[in-house]
Symmetry: C2
Subunit: 429 residues, 2 copies
């Protein structure tokens, strides 16, 4: 880690910089994939799966019987874990279900807001050797609570030509029937454009590599929404000195093992705390299976001592971390100071991995300073909020002068007349 | 209008098509503007204002005294109208303020969600002869309710070298101190990148022409969020036969006068109702000031009779209109059938212009089928929802097996160890 003591305010912006992510160089390739999928449909999906995943598909959709079979073969331990995690995630997300709102304005005008689920969503689950089954829970549980009518899950086949059985089992556990063994930008193109065998979705959820991320941006231009701008995962630990160095080291390593581009930051009130945690990191790093990855991430990581608590939080809110651990015996002291973060972990017994899997919060969170303007995935992401107004004749009379005055100021005469025609006495159907 | 009787389901998709909006051709120009603003800052803003608005700026920010002066000079009628509209908008949006959520999971795990306002937002108000003052209300009122700390308003100077006084007056009325006389893509670039005299914002709100829209997409890639993908305004009227033709015609015209690209649709149960409304349109169109614009929009507009009410709503939800008027004496009969719309107007005395200005609902709404996945601007748009978890030592023990099992299934060993290190008995700070 790079140790920084009392950085000046001039350094503040520079220290918040993440590696710039630009997917512009992928534009041409992604555009080509979208064009092909639009023109050739399923055939293009089969072609790209051969090209990128080296798998010869004989069908695009996974047979529902294979989902059930994978589920039946789940180990008891994994099944129990999925069940407990799902139960906690469900509890927290059920508490977030938005209520319909009804407001009476002046008695004769009724204004409402209702949350209506997005009908059809797509979930992307990356492939590779490790099946990201927790992400299926994080996206399917709120979709089920919101009552999204249709969920389609996309994941690339592994080298053995199949989606990892734990992914299929978790999909079945979540009640997902529609699973397509398609990955990469072609999966995103299929979700956005549709093909003969795939109905397009209205919103795409889920993480992915740079191709998937670039394709999600492209899908947006094509009319398909997506959850969040994506970037490498981040953890910032703030300790007031009452955190436990071995625990903090373990948390920083759990973030660092995600990838060499993971962002890991430690803030402590004294240099000796910084040193202690760094020593612990070196000790724990040695026998980690993913130690090369973690070491690479740690190399560019920051260990900072600020001049004061106040300045530390000023900088933290500028940095806007995805995950923020308050390693303290009295973590609630700091909660009011946090303005920009994805998810906050309070106290010494609250590792980031608790939120990654099982505390009930969602792990799909804003990175790259997006926590300044974006929420992590929560129930809102699965609804549109529609507004309604009902106005009686006398209610409209009360608004008439205001509407016509503002409309004429904006030089929209027909807007004014649409009101006036309704108040003229003679009008009857 | 183009009359269509009993369209087949095969035509359904085609009938929902809006004109494709692609801003790709503007990319190079927008990129150049961003580069210039990044490199030259305020100087670039002055240069582009000269080039595009033909105005020689001697300062970028409008003096606060000019805002007050414009406010003091507001006509009584306009002031009263702003006041009534603002009061209704405030009532509806105050009712939407999200509540903090606290859930106890198994007694030892506390999970929370809090809505924290976005600190600094930018509002773009287009220029031209008509000052869109209602949009200032629609964006500044919820920002004020959410307690966004800073609001910066951008609008291009008119031919006379100044922002329209009604815009300045309304900004002052809303408590906005920071007004910049900069428009177009350069305003969006300034909001996203910042300059010597302008602090960057975290989220950009407000409508604009194709340059502004393309620039907002570009700003997103640069880390600045925006409210909604934009497109030409839309109105769909559904009548069950109990709507009043003259009223419906007036509403369709109020939409059509927005621009030649406005989307206007009428759905009625019989051809004779379609004909009656179309005759009324021709009658009312004659003495509208913006009749050329309205006529151009109407030329490509649709008047459709579907085979049944059920099929009509199936299509309406596929079309997903920005504004949906239910022209009926019993409009609530249909409310449960609406799944995709921006804002819904119930009954014969509820013109779209009521929602545009004064019913209390927000007029910044999703077009171009975005109502399938996006909400219109509402209170949520001005907050991030942050999640928090606090876990006791015994709470973590209860989660331990679940977290370690899922982490190891995902091959993230350090995630598992971050939990195990906390349950080992020997550990103490």
């Amino acid at each position: 880690m790079i140790k920084i003591i009392n950085p000046s305010k001039k350094q503040f912006n520079e220290l918040t910089q993440r590696p710039a992510l630009s997917f512009d160089f992928l534009q041409a390739q992604i555009e080509e994939i979208f064009k092909e999928v639009a023109a050739e449909g399923d055939e293009a999906l089969v072609k790209y799966t051969q090209q990128f995943d080296h798998v010869e598909l004989d069908h695009i959709r996974v047979a529902p019987s294979r989902l059930k079979q994978a589920y039946d073969n789940l180990s008891v331990a994994l099944f129990q874990s999925l069940k407990q995690a799902a139960s906690n995630i469900r509890k927290f997300h059920e508490a977030q279900v938005p209520e319909n709102i009804e407001v009476s304005i002046n008695g004769n005008i009724l204004v409402e807001q209702r949350a209506i689920p997005i009908d059809r969503i797509g979930i992307y689950i990356p492939g590779g050797s490790a099946p990201l089954i927790s992400t299926i829970l994080m996206l399917a549980i709120p979709a089920n609570i919101a009552k999204c009518t249709e969920i389609a899950l996309f994941s690339p086949p592994s080298d053995d030509g199949k989606i990892h059985p734990s992914i299929l089992a978790t999909a079945y556990f979540m009640g997902i029937q529609e699973v397509y063994q398609i990955g990469g930008a072609q999966a995103i193109a299929a979700m956005s454009l549709g093909t003969d065998s795939i109905k397009p979705v209205s919103k795409i959820f889920g993480p992915g590599n740079q191709y998937v991320t670039a394709a999600k941006e492209f899908a947006l231009r094509n009319g398909t929404a997506f959850d969040l701008p994506a970037g490498p995962s981040e953890l910032l630990i703030y300790t007031d000195g009452s955190g436990i160095p071995a625990f903090m080291a373990a948390d920083l390593l759990s973030q660092a093992e995600h990838g060499a581009d993971s962002q890991v930051i430690l803030i402590a009130p004294t240099e000796s705390v910084l040193d202690e945690v760094m020593q612990e990191i070196n000790r724990q790093l040695k026998n980690l299976p993913r130690k090369e990855i973690a070491a690479a991430a740690l190399e560019k990581s920051l260990a900072i001592q600020f001049e004061s608590e106040e300045i530390a939080f000023e900088w933290i809110n500028k940095y806007a971390p995805e995950h923020l651990i308050i390693a303290s015996e009295t973590p609630r002291k700091y909660i009011g100071k946090i303005r920009n973060a994805g998810s906050v972990f309070l106290g010494n017994y609250c590792p980031e991995s608790a939120g990654d899997y099982a505390s009930g919060t969602n792990h799909t969170l804003p990175t790259q300073q997006w926590a300044k303007s974006y929420s992590g995935v929560n129930m809102d992401a699965f609804y549109k909020k529609i507004s309604y107004q009902e106005i009686s004749r006398s209610g409209l009379d009360k608004l008439s002068k205001t509407i016509t005055c503002l409309a004429r100021e904006e030089q929209l005469e027909a807007h004014a007349r649409a009101v006036e025609i309704r108040s003229s006495k003679s009008m009857k159907s």
